[in-house]
């Protein structure tokens, strides 16, 4: 009798466990395809935790379902159950085994964290600045500032995160890591992208009204294409050397929210300037920069564009307006 019930229970548990395994590892692609060395290590912890969780869930589900059907009282059954008060052996077992399992997960997680925190000494550095509601990326050695993060594949890089206003968080799902950008302190994010492609950069810390649209992108390129991109960027910056307006556009990260083909702006958070500025007067363009709430383009929410650009110097602002009007007028 006792043996039989244990066998039945085992069959039930294996059945539930198998179903859960199918759902977890075959039916649904739970995680986006990994794109970094660190992410690959993180996924091993994920698989370990999943397997342990599924086994535990199967045991609990099987035991409770089995009990509900097997030990259910008949409608007029007034008997009591077996007065068992406990069993020291069992209690020791279900204290020790979970302790060992979670210790295992903790140790493996710790190893992964330590490995992921380690980068070779000659890694690249990119400075990431978060502000409501845009990302900008500065390559200190290359004198480039852009609104998208472009990296060569298989190259270890440390992102140094700062925030200008409130807390933001930098997340690329394919890289499996995120890190808050905190005003007042410097935080770091170490990554070795190992898959080429274009991935979303998502802000995951509630940062105000434009939080949902605070997105950018990262492009991971083969080394040759990356070098070419660097050359183009530097040409654009140099080209803007005598074009103060273009330099202002690039250096203030305008391109992380606005499309502007001439300055490689690719952001989609705000209106596409190549279209929206056509036919606008210089005064209207100026107003949109210093007082973004005065006129809000149809289809875009108010209070997303920072209201801090009225602090630009008069020369810079004049040049920026002039540049925007000229670039989009024909």
């Amino acid at each position: 009798m006792r043996k039989k019930s244990i066998i039945q229970l085992l069959i039930l548990a294996v059945g539930i466990g198998a179903a859960a395994f199918v759902i977890s590892f075959i039916g649904i692609p739970w995680l986006p395809k990994v794109g970094s060395e660190q992410g690959e290590r993180i996924d091993t912890v994920y698989v370990l935790a999943s397997v342990i969780s599924l086994v535990i869930f199967a045991i609990v589900a099987a035991a409770s379902l089995y009990a509900i059907f097997k030990f259910r009282a008949k409608p007029d059954d007034e008997e009591d159950g077996k007065p068992t008060h406990g069993h020291t052996g069992l209690e020791v077992v279900w204290t020790l085994i979970p302790t060992l399992l979670v210790t295992g997960i903790a140790v493996w997680s710790g190893v992964v964290v330590v490995k992921n925190d380690r980068l070779p000494a000659d890694h690249m550095v990119v400075e990431v600045t978060a502000a409501q509601f845009a990302w900008s990326f500065t390559y200190p050695d290359l004198n480039i500032t852009t609104g998208e993060l472009v990296l060569p594949v298989d190259e270890p890089v440390e992102l140094q995160l700062r925030s200008n206003d409130v807390i933001h968080s930098f997340w690329v799902p394919e890289w499996r890591q995120k890190q808050d950008a905190v005003p007042g302190i410097l935080t770091t994010y170490r990554i070795t992208p190992n898959r080429e492609g274009t991935f979303a950069v998502i802000c995951t810390e509630l940062c105000g009204l434009g939080h949902a649209v605070m997105r950018s992108q990262t492009r991971v390129l083969p080394q040759a294409e990356y070098d070419q991109w660097v050359a183009e960027q530097q040409a654009a910056v140099d080209g803007g050397g005598d074009n103060l307006g273009k330099a202002a556009f690039v250096n203030n990260g305008c391109g992380s929210c606005h499309v502007l083909a001439d300055a490689n702006g690719t952001g989609t958070t705000g209106p596409n300037l190549d279209e929206a500025l056509v036919g606008q007067t210089p005064d209207a363009v100026r107003e949109s920069i210093v007082a973004p709430s005065a006129v809000v383009t149809e289809g875009y929410p108010d209070n997303v564009m920072p209201k801090t650009y009225d602090t630009l110097s008069q020369d810079e602002l004049d040049a920026l307006v002039d540049y925007l009007v000229k670039t989009t007028s024909g």
Binding site: Y46, I56, V60, I68, F71, D77, T103, A106, L206, H211
Partner: protein, 657 residues
């Protein structure tokens, strides 16, 4: 059976009839000067006027510009007006008489008990009345916060912006979470504990009945403050229930109503917790040793420790935010040398233990329900009680797992991960012991049992997803995504709310004297169970795949799953109306409940339903453990004149009506 009542323990005996004598002096006044709603009607506006005049007058005198500053005024109002209201209601009358040296009645029962519905709307010192006051108030806020969630899910049903702008959306998310936590889950357990703990330990009332009455009335004040933020200029507080600075210090003034509302809700829970601790330590009936206490009492004992130790931290964190904003301090202002991450440490030092504040009382309910409906002793009773203590202690060492990606000291991640994962051990002990409790039992599938068993499976899922979030590397991916939203709802809805419903159905006959409708209760369970899983399970996936939380708009690739989740949530919301209907109709016209419809052994079931005003005619004598089902002749308590306890079946069993 002849019983011998021990002397010296019945301090509640005297004065039972005092309320038939002359009323205390503070009630012998005209209607406008006597504590009550009429008096509150003028003291509340008066305190409002005085606060306004004081602040504006002071600002005018000292040439501050502007004289009318809403931020300062809101702080002034939220501090002063509640006192004016409570004073008018009569919450302080006894104490004011006492401290001013005027004559008070030594045994005053004028505020005790309910003879009509009106007695539920005044300052009442009867723990049973207060329990009902809590239950009704908190379920009102449950519906309000649930409705806010449905607005959220309606907006999220498809990508883009449909009904609300992001300001309103953020206001809804923040107040949904805040009201659910501070006005429903935390206080509803205080209400249930209030009702049953004195009965379960054989006490006439709580140790401090007047403080108990005050604790309750702080709660609607906190709730109204939070709701009031919807009508101040700029809209409701919208920096999330976590209220992280610097954002929290930049957003509209309504945020102050969260910061100050939390103070009143926190004060309410601290005072109640102190009351529980003293009551449980000092007012147990003779023979009720700690190792004979029902696990519900153990659970509330440990929970109260958590409340008393942890709640001051959230109060402090919100005060510091208020100081930054109104007094221009720089605690969390980076430009002034403030440390932004410091806020998170203080906040989570409360808010992680708060998760256990919202779970442990439910653990207690589940132990009661499983033992009674499986007709078996709780398996490993002592280890069950000790695991509560284990969670209490470990619970204070895990807070920073909310901050693995927040920019805190990197070394701290590993120890916090280890303690976080280890807390799965005492929790696991509870799960396995519950399963062993129903094993080999005689299981009666009544509504409370459905919720208890549903709780076990849902809470296990929430606990296991917690292991993912507790592991630093996985958390680096999953933190701040919909995976977290799914996890917290499996813990707080599949966990806490399921236990609340188990308790609500279990004690409904005791509290109201009526049976609920069993069929509606089961319909309520099944609809909730299925809709809950449809709503929240898919959120694990969209979170891991790349959808951040707290967004009004999202990548259209998640449109389908969000629609599924939204549809599930509408069914989930509608299912709760069945509960409300069942409660209202059954309370009015349900079948009369016998004293002990579940054949339970704990003391509250040995009293009539509902119990008499002063609970016990004689002090009960506890002679054994609370769950001795299946042991012939075993008894938990001996009551003079009470119904015969033990496990003898009730003559008339009450079925579904």
């Amino acid at each position: 059976m002849a019983t011998h009542v021990l002397d010296g323990h019945g301090h509640h005996h005297e004065g039972h009839d005092d309320h038939h004598g002359p009323p205390p002096p503070w009630l012998q006044r005209g209607p406008l000067r006597r504590g009550g709603w009429l008096k509150a009607l003028w003291t509340t506006p008066l305190s409002f006027g005085l606060a306004t005049a004081f602040i504006c007058g002071l600002r005018a005198l000292t040439n501050w510009d502007p004289v009318w500053d809403l931020e300062v005024l809101l702080v002034g109002w939220t501090v002063v007006v509640p006192f004016g209201f409570l004073y008018g209601l009569g919450a302080f009358d006894y104490w004011l008489y006492f401290v001013t040296g005027r004559k008070t009645l030594p045994e005053d029962h004028s505020g005790h008990g309910a003879d009509s519905w009106k007695d539920y709307f005044r300052v009442n010192t009867d723990h049973k009345v207060i329990g009902v006051q809590y239950a009704v108030t908190t379920f009102f806020f449950f519906l309000v916060a649930g409705l806010l969630a449905l607005f959220l899910r309606a907006e999220l049903a498809e990508p883009g912006s449909q009904f609300v702008d992001s300001n309103t959306f953020n206001g809804f998310t923040s107040s949904h979470a805040t009201i659910m936590i501070f006005l429903f889950i935390v206080p509803v357990f205080a209400g249930m504990g209030n009702y049953v703990i004195p009965l379960m330990i054989g006490a006439a009332d709580m140790a401090y009945p007047k403080l108990n009455a005050l604790s309750f009335w702080l709660l609607p004040i906190a709730g109204l403050m939070m709701l009031a933020s919807f009508i101040v200029p700029g809209g409701a507080f919208n920096a999330g229930w976590t209220n992280y600075p610097p954002l929290a210090e930049h957003v509209q003034v309504g945020n102050l109503l969260f910061q100050m509302g939390v103070q009143w809700a926190g004060a309410s829970s601290i005072l109640t917790a102190l009351n529980f601790i003293v009551t449980i330590i000092t007012m147990r009936a003779p023979g009720m040793t700690f190792w004979r206490m029902p696990l519900l009492v153990w659970a509330n004992f440990t929970t109260s420790m958590l409340v008393v130790l942890a709640t001051p931290f959230i109060a402090g964190s919100q005060f510091l935010l208020t100081f930054d904003r109104v007094l221009h301090t720089n605690f969390f202002v980076p430009e002034g040398g403030g440390y932004v991450v410091g806020y998170q440490h203080i906040f989570w030092f409360y808010s992680h233990p708060a998760v256990y504040i919202m779970l442990l009382p439910g653990f207690g309910i589940i132990s009661e329900v499983l033992a009674v409906f499986a007709r078996k002793p709780v398996f490993g009773y002592r280890l069950m009680a000790l695991s509560l203590v284990g969670i209490l202690i470990l619970g204070f060492s895990v807070w920073a797992h909310h901050m693995f990606v927040a920019g805190m000291a990197p070394w701290l991640r590993i120890p916090m991960m280890v303690t976080t994962l280890l807390i799965a051990v005492p929790t696991g002990i509870k799960i396995f012991s519950w399963l062993a409790t129903i094993w080999d039992g005689r299981i009666h599938m009544r509504a409370p049992m459905y919720w208890a068993l549903g709780f076990i499976s849902m809470f296990v899922i929430g606990g296991l997803s917690g292991i993912f979030l507790g592991s630093v590397p996985i958390d680096q991916h999953a933190s701040d995504t919909y995976f977290v939203v799914a996890h917290i709802h499996y813990v707080l809805f599949g966990g806490s709310v399921f236990t609340i419903f188990a308790g609500a159905y279990y004690w409904f006959p005791k509290m109201t004297g009526r049976m609920y409708n069993e069929r509606l209760a089961k319909l309520h369970f099944w609809l909730t169970f299925v809709a809950f899983n449809v709503t929240f399970f898919v959120q694990h996936y969209i979170g891991l795949d790349g959808m951040p939380r707290r967004v009004a708009d999202y990548d259209p690739v998640y449109a389908d799953w969000n629609l599924v989740s939204s549809l599930g949530s509408f069914v989930l919301g509608a299912a709760q109306l069945i509960f409300i209907y069942n409660v209202i109709v059954s309370w009015r016209s349900g079948a009369k409940a016998p004293a002990n419809p579940w054949r339970a052994m704990t003391i509250e079931w040995q009293l009539p339903s509902p119990p008499p005003k002063y609970n016990f005619d004689e002090v009960p004598r506890v002679v054994g453990g609370p769950y001795e089902y299946g042991i012939p002749g075993a008894r938990h308590v001996i009551l003079e004149g009470g119904s015969e306890l033990s496990t003898t079946p009730e003559p008339a069993r009450v079925g579904a009506h």
